[in-house]
């Protein structure tokens, strides 16, 4: 839209989201900046309450009214936060679409799957019912729903969890989005179905050349799908990097702690190296680094200074004051 010839697909700068109510102000997202490129999968990894879903929803302004948003969000160069409602409607489902965790609640129970896909197609392209139905059939085939012709007239409750999630992906893809937002789309699925949906999403993302931002709490899922990982903690991005580097060589003590506390391949005769304590109350964030109270590497300055992002390579960021200090040399004082 503006002067930049080839803007990044997503450019978020200093994004903060607060939820203000009479009782308290929840600081859900604090000064978050990141970029997502075309044809790449960015995984936002974080625990519940880390602000990962709010960050994702802000990209299409899918937030409740009491949300106060500051900062700059650009998708394909367009300023999403300043966008009038009409343009926003065209953006949602057109350039950007989204899939959710719980397909049963995200789909409308009183319309068939074919009708729901068709509605989306007609809304955005203005084609007739027949063409929309043909497109719906094509999409069900694309997402690997067997006997698609019959499933077109099925209602959500008639489908299994895996098929429902595939139907939702079909709706999201119906208008050839350039960016797919995925909010824990495999969390509610069984293990054998989860891996099928992950493989499907990876294939579709590659074949259609979409950018994808995938929110998850599961390191294993991130390892299966991400090109780049951004780790969030207490509303801030604490580490960014290529997936292999983040998993094998984490910079931030929170990422390192998360990897150490994962039960994967844990020796049975030893306790797991758990991160002590629990995540902070987002209504009363501590000054300084939010992870400091649980951190083995903390120093006095961590309690007072919010660590600024440090880039040790162009693609590799961590926000920690004690990056250089090896974890083994600094002993936490209780």
């Amino acid at each position: 839209m503006d002067g930049d010839a080839n803007p990044p697909l997503v450019q978020v700068t200093d994004l903060s989201v607060k939820f203000v109510s009479r009782e308290a102000t929840v600081h859900a997202v604090n000064q978050v900046s990141f970029t997502a490129r075309r044809g790449e999968v960015l995984c936002i990894l974080g625990e519940s309450g880390s602000g990962k879903s709010v960050t994702l929803r802000t990209l299409i302004r899918l937030l409740p009214r009491q949300a106060q948003v500051e900062g700059d969000v650009r998708v394909n160069g367009q300023d999403v936060l300043a966008m009038p409602a009409r343009e926003l409607r065209a953006l949602r489902g057109g350039l950007v679409s989204m899939i959710f965790q719980e397909p049963m609640t995200a789909l409308d129970p009183v319309y068939s799957v074919g009708q729901q896909i068709g509605e989306m197609v007609r809304r955005h392209t203005g084609c007739d019912r027949k063409a929309a139905r043909a497109r719906a059939l094509e999409l069900l085939d694309l997402v690997g729903i067997p006997s698609a012709e019959r499933r077109l007239d099925a209602y959500p409750h008639e489908l299994s969890g895996g098929l429902r999630q595939r139907a939702m992906i079909a709706i999201a893809l119906s208008c050839n989005p350039q960016l797919l937002l995925a909010d824990e789309p495999t969390t509610a699925l069984d293990a054998t179905v989860q891996v099928q949906v992950l493989i499907l999403l990876r294939r579709l993302q590659r074949e259609l050349g979409m950018g994808m931002i995938f929110v998850t709490h599961d390191l294993g899922v991130a390892a299966e799908i991400a090109d780049t990982i951004a780790v969030m903690y207490a509303g801030r991005i604490v580490e960014v990097g290529p997936v292999a580097q983040v998993l094998s060589d984490p910079l931030h003590p929170y990422t390192a702690g998360l990897l150490a506390s994962t039960v994967h391949g844990q020796r049975k005769d030893r306790d797991i190296d758990a991160i002590p304590g629990s995540p902070p109350d987002m209504r009363r964030l501590p000054p300084g680094c939010s992870f400091a109270p649980r951190c083995a590497r903390r120093s006095a300055a961590c309690r007072t200074t919010v660590p600024a992002p440090q880039f040790i390579a162009p693609e590799r960021m961590a926000a920690c004051l004690n990056l250089a200090a090896p974890a083994t040399l600094t002993v936490a004082t209780e």
Binding site: S48, D190, Q196, S261
Partner: protein, 356 residues
């Protein structure tokens, strides 16, 4: 007599009737079908002929996908859901029989921790009262029950003075689950059934609770039945593992045997579906396709046959028995025709694993 002294594991437990060789719990042919409203004669076959034993002092892990009946099974063990048929024997005493152990007496010795740590606590009760409620209802004096609650809250890592007076909504998820564990332990059970106790917790808190559960088991000489869909967690915490599919046991064996030498194609698929944690070796092909079928109308014969790459005619006509087939060591059993030398399945007798 203080609570701590009662819980001293070194003293022989006066409640131990059968001795160490007697399994703590024997379940035989448990069955529970839930009728479906509006569809006469149809029922959800949640648990369909499940038999197993729980040995004293072990952790038995139960894994399976949603709808496989693992949570119903947990409730059957406590008669929270009354089984249609089947028999439970607790430490040698038949449960509910005239000469056996009454349901109430069973529940004194077997307690349960549920997945949802918030909805399983009374929101109008300070958590110390929730913990004290069990001992009180079982006949302790109020003051005594309160002392027990204090001691047990300390044991699960919560300062009773700080957290005891709080209400559930004032605690984090991990703290609430600690309270639930404390409440289960307050009646000094010998066995605890843990139904997805860490599934709702964040990963960093999950590790803390798993460590706590292991420490408590050692200190209090407990026996666990640990239900989870997370195979990594089950591998870490269990001694033996039971794999369920659509209401039936498909495989049961020592934890390392199940994970290193799985016999049943379903167990193999389940293990292969775990994320690799290594971006350089991602899963390229789904180990099996489709979803688990509807338990209202399960497939005939072997219930896994509709998704099994090795399914043959015999799998449709005959239900495979759960057996070690004489070749598999350490009471590792599986229900698959491929391991039955006489089943007529073309793979029978020369499978790629489990040959002793």
């Amino acid at each position: 007599m203080t609570h701590a002294a009662e819980l001293d594991p070194r003293a022989p437990d006066p409640r131990d009737r059968g001795g160490p060789a007697q399994p703590l719990l024997i379940a035989t042919d448990l069955r529970k079908h839930f009728p479906v409203k509006g569809a006469r004669g149809k029922s959800v076959q949640a648990v369909d002929g499940v038999s197993f034993t729980v040995r004293k002092g072990e952790t038995l892990g139960i894994v399976g996908e949603s709808g496989c009946g693992k949570s119903t099974l947990a409730r059957l063990l406590l008669h929270l859901v009354v089984p249609d048929t089947g028999e439970l024997v607790f430490d040698g005493d038949a449960v509910g029989a005239a000469d056996g152990i009454a349901i109430n007496a069973l529940r004194r010795q077997v307690q349960m921790v549920f997945q949802d740590s918030y909805s399983s606590l009374n929101p109008r009760m300070p958590v110390r009262d929730s913990v004290a409620f069990g001992p009180f209802i079982q006949g302790r004096k109020k003051a005594q029950a309160r002392d027990i609650a204090r001691a047990i809250l300390g044991k699960v890592g919560l300062d009773a003075d700080v957290f005891g007076p709080r209400y559930p909504h004032e605690l984090s998820g991990g703290q609430k689950q600690r309270v639930n564990i404390a409440r289960a332990l307050a009646t000094e059970p010998r066995m605890v059934i843990l139904d997805e106790p860490v599934s709702a917790l964040d990963k960093s808190v999950e590790a803390q609770v798993l460590n706590l559960l292991r420490a408590l088991k050692r200190q209090l000489d407990l026996t666990y039945v640990f239900i989870s869909h997370d195979l990594n967690v089950v591998r870490y915490i269990s001694d033996r593992v039971l794999v369920m599919y659509l209401g039936r046991v498909v495989e049961l064996g020592p934890v390392e045997a199940i994970f290193e030498r799985p016999l049943h194609p379903y167990t193999k698929a389940l293990l292969a579906s775990r994320p690799s944690m290594d971006p350089a070796h991602r899963i390229e092909e789904p180990p099996i396709s489709g979803d688990p079928p509807n338990p209202i109308d399960p497939p005939s014969g072997c219930r896994f046959r509709t998704r099994c790459p090795f399914a043959e005619a015999v799998c449709e006509t005959t239900t495979p028995a759960l057996s070690d087939w004489g070749v598999i060591a350490e009471s590792h059993i599986a229900a698959c025709h491929m391991h039955d030398p006489n089943s007529g399945h073309s793979h029978s007798g020369h499978t790629d694993s489990g040959q002793a």
